[in-house]
C-alpha cells in the first residue's frame, strides 16, 4: 500500500467539477484507491463519496492506494491536487 497526504488549495474546495476530475483520474488506475479525512474514508472513484468528504479549501486529505499501479496512482492524485484539479481560477 502506498499513501500520501495533500491539501485542497482550490478556492471553492473539492466541489462538483474538481471532484469529477478526481474521479476520472482515479478510475484510470487498477488499484483500489481510498481518500480519507478524519474518520471518513471513501472510494476515490465515487463522486458521491468525494462530495460527502465536503473538503473545503485548506482541508488535508489522505490518499491510500493498493494494487499494481499504487505508486503511480498516489503520485498522479497528489499532482492533480497541486494543479487545482485542472480548474483555472481567475
Amino acid at each position: 500500500m502506498t499513501e500520501a497526504e495533500f491539501q485542497i488549495i482550490n478556492k471553492h474546495g473539492l466541489h462538483a467539477r474538481p471532484a469529477t476530475a478526481l474521479v476520472t483520474l482515479a478510475s484510470k488506475f487498477n488499484s483500489n484507491i481510498f481518500l480519507s479525512r478524519g474518520e471518513k474514508r471513501i472510494n476515490a472513484k465515487s463522486i458521491l463519496g468525494i462530495l460527502v468528504l465536503a473538503a473545503e479549501k485548506g482541508a488535508t486529505l489522505k490518499v491510500q492506494a493498493d494494487g499494481e499501479d499504487e505508486k503511480e496512482a498516489v503520485k498522479a492524485i497528489v499532482e492533480l491536487a497541486k494543479n487545482k484539479f485542472g480548474m483555472t481560477e481567475e
Binding site: K11, H12, A16, K40, N43, G49, L51, V52, A54
Partner: protein, 605 residues
C-alpha cells in the same frame, strides 16, 4: 362532471394568455414504495433493473441539458452536469447489492436507503458549503425511483404534443428551468408571489402564470381544458366553445401587436414635439436579456443582482459574480448597464443571511439592502470588486439602494474606493470613470435629494418602495393597500422635487419602479421631465409607442394643473382623460388587457 366555464381568481405572476390541458406536477417525495420481497436469485436482475433505470434517466437529463443550453445558456446547464455524474456513480452498487442481500427487499428500497445515507452524511456536515449538492442527490434519487416504480412515471417527459398548463403546489425557479418545454404554455400554483424569481423566469419565457389559488393542484383537474388569463388573473376551467374561441382570437391579436413592437424596436423614443426620453430595461435574470434583443431598449436601467444570492445556499464568489456581470456587459456592447448592489432583506431572504433576517418584526424597515452591505463589508466589497471588474468590458454604472442619509452615502463611497484600491493592488483593470448613483426610495433621501445629488452621477427613483414608505402602507396588507397609490399629490410633489434636484446638479434622473410601465404615470413622468424610464422587457414595446405618441409641451401644462390638485382621484381622472385623448384607439392599439393590467385604466370611474 365539471361545471362549464368555472372561473377562479388568482394573482397574476406573469402576464399572457394560454390554453391547454391541465397537468398536475408533484415534484416532491415518493412517500410510498411497496415493500416487495425478493430472493437471493433475484438480486442480479434487480441490479440490472437499476442500470436500465439509470440509462433512461441519463437520456432524460441529457435532453434537459440540451434544452436548457439552447434556451438559457451554458451556465444553467452546469446544474445538470453535476446530476449526471451523481447518477452514473457505480460505486454505490456494492452498497445497494449488500442491502438487498441482507434485507431481501427489491431495488427501489435499497437504492433509496443508500442514497439517503449520502444525503444524511452531507446534511450532518458542519460546512454549509456543500449543502446545495444535497438537492442534486435528492433530484437524481427521485428520477431513478420514478423510473423504477413504473406506476409513477414522470408525466412530463412522456406526454404527447398537446399543449399543457402545469399546475403545482409550489414552483421553484429550478422547476421552471427544468420543466419548461415546448408543450408547456402556462403555470398555475397554489403558493408564490408576483416578485419571486419563479414569476420573473415565467415572464421572461413568455409563459403566463397565476399564483395564489388554494387547493388547485388536485388530481380531479388532471386532463381538463384550462385557460390561463394572465391579465385578469383568472383560471377558467372547462371553457365553453364561445369562450375558447374568444380567447384564441385574443391570443392572435396579441401576437400581431407583439410582432409590431419587434419590428419597431429601433424607433427612437422621442415625443411628437422632439423631447427624448431614454427607454431601458429592468433585468433580474440573465435569461431576460432575450427580451432586450426582441424589443430594443437603450440599455439596462436596473439590474437586480439578488438572484445569485437567492438561488444558492452559499455566498457567490467574486469570480462567479464577475462572470455573470461580464456576460451581460458584453451582451450590451457599449450600452449602459446599471448594476444595483444587493437589495436583500424585506421580502427577499437569502438562506445565507436567514438567521439575521428571519426574526425581524418589521422587515421592510429593518436589516436590508445597503444596510446589510455597510454592516457586512466582506459581502459588499466582493460584489463591488466584481462589478468594477466588469466595468472594464463596457459601460457599467453602479447603483446603491435604500440610501436614507448622506453619511450612509459617504460610507458607501468609502467602500467603493476601497474596492478600487484593492483591484489596483491586484493589478486588475477596471473603468476608472465608472459612474455611481443612488436609488431613492426612502422619504428622507427624497427630501435631501438636492444634497445627495451633489455626490453622485445619476439618480433613480424606486417608486414602489417610495410610495409604500411615503404612505406608510404595506402593499401586501389587504386591509390598508387601497391607501397605496402613486397618483397621490404627495407623490407628484416628491417626484418633481427629486427630478429638479437632479437637474440642478446636471444629474440625470430615471424611474425604474412600476410607474415607468404604467401608461398614465408615463404622462405624468414625461411632463415632469424625467430623463429615463426603465421597465420590464415585456413593457418596452408599449412604453415606446406611448412616448412616441405624446406631446411634451402639452404634458408640461398638464403637470402644472396636476400640481394644484388636492386629491388623487382628480389627478387620476385628469391623467386618464388626457391618455384617452392622446390614444383614442388605445384598446385596439395596445391590447386592452395588456395595458389595463398595469394601470388604473381598468377601473371604471
Amino acid at each position: 362532471m365539471t361545471v362549464t366555464n368555472e372561473k377562479i381568481k388568482g394573482i397574476v405572476a406573469a402576464p399572457g394568455i394560454a390554453i391547454g390541458k391541465a397537468l398536475i406536477y408533484r415534484p416532491h417525495e415518493i412517500d410510498f414504495i411497496p415493500k416487495t420481497k425478493i430472493s437471493l436469485q433475484d438480486i442480479d436482475s434487480e441490479m440490472e433493473r437499476l442500470n436500465e433505470a439509470r440509462k433512461s434517466v441519463l437520456k432524460e437529463l441529457e435532453q434537459i441539458r440540451e434544452r436548457i443550453e439552447k434556451r438559457l445558456g451554458p451556465n444553467y446547464a452546469e446544474l445538470i452536469n453535476a446530476q449526471i455524474s451523481i447518477l452514473m456513480d457505480h460505486h454505490i452498487d456494492d452498497e445497494v447489492r449488500n442491502y438487498m442481500i441482507e434485507n431481501l427487499v427489491h431495488v427501489p428500497i435499497a437504492y433509496r436507503v443508500v442514497m439517503n445515507v449520502y444525503i444524511q452524511m452531507l446534511d450532518d456536515g458542519e460546512s454549509s458549503f456543500f449543502q446545495e449538492r444535497i438537492l442534486d442527490i435528492r433530484d437524481v434519487r427521485q428520477r431513478v425511483l420514478q423510473v423504477l416504480l413504473s406506476e409513477a412515471i414522470e408525466p412530463l417527459s412522456t406526454q404527447s404534443d398537446e399543449p399543457v398548463i402545469l399546475i403545482a403546489k409550489y414552483l421553484t425557479p429550478g422547476d421552471i428551468i427544468i420543466l419548461s418545454n415546448d408543450n408547456i404554455r402556462g403555470f398555475v400554483s397554489e403558493l408564490g408571489g408576483t416578485t419571486s424569481h419563479t414569476s420573473i423566469l415565467a415572464r421572461s419565457l413568455k409563459m403566463p402564470m397565476i399564483v395564489g389559488i388554494p387547493n388547485i393542484a388536485n388530481e380531479t383537474l388532471s386532463g381538463e381544458t384550462l385557460i390561463v388569463d394572465g391579465y385578469k388573473g383568472e383560471l377558467i376551467i372547462h371553457p365553453d366553445h364561445e369562450t375558447e374561441y374568444l380567447y384564441k382570437h385574443q391570443i392572435q391579436r396579441l401576437q400581431k401587436i407583439t410582432t409590431y413592437y419587434t419590428e419597431h424596436k429601433n424607433d427612437r423614443t422621442v415625443t411628437k414635439d422632439g423631447k427624448t426620453v431614454d427607454l431601458m430595461a429592468n433585468i433580474s435574470l440573465p435569461v431576460e436579456l432575450k427580451g432586450l434583443e426582441e424589443f430594443g431598449g437603450q440599455g439596462i436601467g436596473l439590474y437586480r443582482s439578488e438572484y445569485l444570492y437567492l438561488m444558492k445556499h452559499t455566498l457567490p464568489t467574486e469570480e462567479e459574480l464577475f462572470q455573470e456581470y461580464v456576460t451581460m456587459v458584453r451582451f450590451l456592447k457599449n450600452k449602459p448597464v446599471v448594476l444595483r448592489t444587493i437589495d436583500l432583506g424585506g421580502d427577499k431572504i437569502a438562506s445565507i443571511l436567514e438567521q439575521e433576517l428571519l426574526h425581524e418584526d418589521n422587515p421592510n424597515m429593518g436589516y436590508r439592502a445597503i444596510r446589510i452591505c455597510l454592516d457586512r463589508p466582506d459581502i459588499f466589497i466582493t460584489q463591488l470588486k466584481a462589478m468594477l471588474r466588469a466595468s472594464y468590458y463596457g459601460k457599467v454604472q453602479i447603483m446603491f439602494p435604500m440610501i436614507s442619509r448622506l453619511e450612509e452615502l459617504e460610507q458607501t463611497i468609502h467602500y467603493f474606493e476601497t474596492a478600487k484600491n484593492l483591484l489596483r493592488e491586484e493589478k486588475i483593470p477596471f473603468d476608472e470613470n465608472c459612474e455611481i448613483g443612488i436609488l431613492i426610495e426612502v422619504p428622507s433621501a427624497a427630501l435631501m435629494a438636492d444634497k445627495l445629488a451633489e455626490k453622485v452621477d445619476f439618480i433613480s427613483i424606486g417608486t414602489n418602495d417610495l410610495t409604500q414608505y411615503m404612505m406608510a402602507v404595506d402593499r401586501g396588507n389587504e386591509k390598508v393597500n387601497h391607501i397605496y397609490c402613486h397618483y397621490d399629490p404627495a407623490m407628484i410633489r416628491t417626484i418633481q422635487w427629486i427630478i429638479r434636484s437632479g437637474h440642478h446638479h446636471k444629474v440625470p434622473v430615471s424611474v425604474c419602479g412600476e410607474m415607468a410601465g404604467d401608461p398614465l404615470s408615463i404622462l405624468l413622468l414625461v411632463g415632469l421631465e424625467i430623463d429615463i424610464l426603465s421597465v420590464s422587457p415585456i413593457f418596452l414595446g408599449p412604453v415606446r409607442e406611448i412616448i412616441r405618441g405624446l406631446s411634451f409641451k402639452e404634458l408640461q401644462d398638464l403637470v402644472l394643473k396636476l400640481l394644484k390638485m388636492d386629491k388623487r382621484q382628480d389627478v387620476y381622472k385628469a391623467l386618464k382623460d388626457r391618455f384617452i385623448s392622446f390614444f383614442p384607439d388605445w384598446k385596439m392599439r395596445f391590447g386592452e388587457s395588456v395595458i389595463a393590467e398595469n394601470s388604473g385604466l381598468q377601473e371604471e370611474s
